[in-house]
Symmetry: C2
């Protein structure tokens, strides 16, 4: 790629105090356009700022849009690190295939991320648990109201310094098991990061929050009994000494954190079952005390302990609403690797060169 | 409402020849903003043109977006007519409730449409089958990457003169029955007009078109056997002397054309069954000759005859791939009422005052 760089004339003040998630954006952004004739063209890093969009840009009507999420970490060696960016590149290509959108080749995807991160190196925060969140995204910007593949798309990357995703930190959260609304089925879009999944699941999240729960646990859309995702995270359950998590079979997102956690667990000798588990079984195991720990995994929050499940009137507390030992160890190990405080046996960290 | 009108300084040339669908837009558009503090505010009719959007406007990432579609017709009495706009107003409110978006009150919705249509009266085409397509739509324009209800939304209306939706006209189309990809389930968003539904179903449409079919017929996402929608239209089947169509039970869009057609059919003495019908049964009825006619209904195309169904290797031709008598009568009657050539017994037409 031949990336043109146009530097911002006035740089923003860096935010101070708690960073939150997705609130402050850096001085520049990466933009690249695609047309059916030209393919990808005009790759550029330009000052972050508002864009022009037509009222009938197809994305505003038919939601052809996909995204990714990963983080850059400031190493103590003053190198900048990414965590398994090739996994995001592949998943993004998968998403775009399902949504009939052109793919961004893996090497271009990673090069674009590396270049914008280098330009914004001074924005990578260095406080405890802080990192630079990277949001690649793409949308149909062709004008027109016919429902069809678009002839033009825009791919962009924006960056924001982030602290912990949940303001509560790594404390356990209460989860509402949704039994009316559904998220997806095999054959749908549940396994891809497209906007429509998030828009559709918002009603469940809002309902859960109104009832005093932090997030919603989704059941499968066909039988309404198999456990799938929690909010926008993969969900894992330690039952006796086995960790159970939903399989990647077309409904659940193939989380990078999920995959990394499974590797860690296996290396520690845990049995990991990627299988369907019925909510009734899970609630039962909760009542009998066999459900020892539970947590959600995702790039933004890394690990989020689950302290309570509510399902059809049944309330189950997990590990006395304390963060479990294994949950804590997983969080410490994975963030330790990500921030460079623990040996990276798996070669997951990639230096941004 | 107190709508501010800012007239365009330079008016566009009206398009000549075949209008197509969703290609040419008029000189003005209606815009109104919503914030959690103020509610709806700054309702205005301004020159049609590009807008400014932030790269992290939530709609570009999480697809909180809904829309409607209806038409304005130029009467021979020089009055402008809408067709059952209150149905669109109600459905739009339904969509927004499901998507956790603020509602546009019914009277505001209709007033906004009426005002922009009056300003653009000269754009209403008068050729055979031509009308002014009205596209109200709404999206989350708050900046930020947290997944949550937005604090600000924009509601807009754009207009485009249209001819027939399908360039082939009211000729029968070949339909591919999709047996791998799914569209929705009860508890999902299938019954609302949100962008995500259209983005998710594009893969089915593209697949069907590659195989030589015009559109896809969706089966239910749970059992994968009950007939739901065809493309973005409701589907109806004349089996012997009974018309069968999928019920409005949470997966299928409550089409205004669907509802109107059902009223016409009942008034003519036809038995109408709003019920689940298995695709196997339908294919069987097609082979035995009991499936006399089939058609899709929607605002854009009005009625689109189905001449062939393809399902898992089985091909069924309907009415010798000719537009059926009843299909033709329905099309003529409904368009006759819409364009004011037939008595409007149901008081469906509303004069734009």
């Amino acid at each position: 790629m031949n990336i043109r760089i146009e530097r911002a004339k006035n740089l923003k003040e860096k935010p101070e105090g708690a960073l939150g998630f997705g609130k402050n954006f850096t001085d520049h952004m990466f933009v690249m356009d695609w047309s059916r004739d030209k393919g990808w063209y005009d790759e550029r890093i330009i000052p972050y700022g508002p864009m022009v969009i037509d009222p009938v840009a197809m994305v505003l009507h038919y939601a052809q849009e996909t995204f990714e999420g990963l983080k850059a970490y400031m190493g103590k060696d003053d190198n900048v690190y990414l965590f398994r960016p090739e996994m995001n590149a592949r998943r993004f290509a998968n998403s775009n295939r399902r949504m009939c959108m052109p793919e961004v080749p893996e090497d271009m995807f990673i090069e674009a991320i590396s270049e914008i991160v280098k330009v914004e190196k001074s924005w990578i925060p260095t406080g405890e648990g802080e990192s630079l969140y990277i949001r690649p995204f793409m949308y149909a910007n062709q004008s027109g109201l016919g429902v069809d593949e678009a002839d033009s798309y825009r791919f962009m990357i924006v960056l924001c310094p982030v602290g912990a995703y949940y303001p509560q930190g790594v404390n356990p959260v209460k989860i509402y098991v949704e039994d009316e609304l559904t998220r997806t089925t095999v054959g749908g879009t549940g396994f891809v990061k497209c906007g429509g999944n998030y828009a559709g699941s918002l009603a469940g999240q809002v309902k859960a929050q109104k009832l005093g729960y932090t997030q919603v646990l989704w059941l499968d859309g066909v039988h309404r009994k198999y456990v799938e995702e929690v909010g926008s995270m993969n969900a894992m359950f330690l039952v006796n000494d086995t960790v159970i998590t939903a399989p990647i079979e077309g409904t659940v997102l193939a989380g990078v954190t999920r995959d990394s956690i499974i590797s860690l667990l296996k290396s520690w000798g845990y049995k990991v079952e990627e299988r369907k588990i019925e909510i009734d079984e899970l609630i039962e195991k909760g009542k009998s005390g066999e459900l020892k720990e539970a947590w959600g995994t995702g790039t933004a929050a890394v690990i989020s302990p689950i302290g309570e499940l509510f399902y059809k009137g049944d309330k189950v507390e997990i590990n006395d609403f304390e963060t479990g030992e294994l949950t804590k160890k997983l969080y410490d190990t994975l963030t330790g690797i990500q921030w460079g405080n623990i040996e990276d046996k798996y070669n997951w960290r990639k230096i941004v060169k």
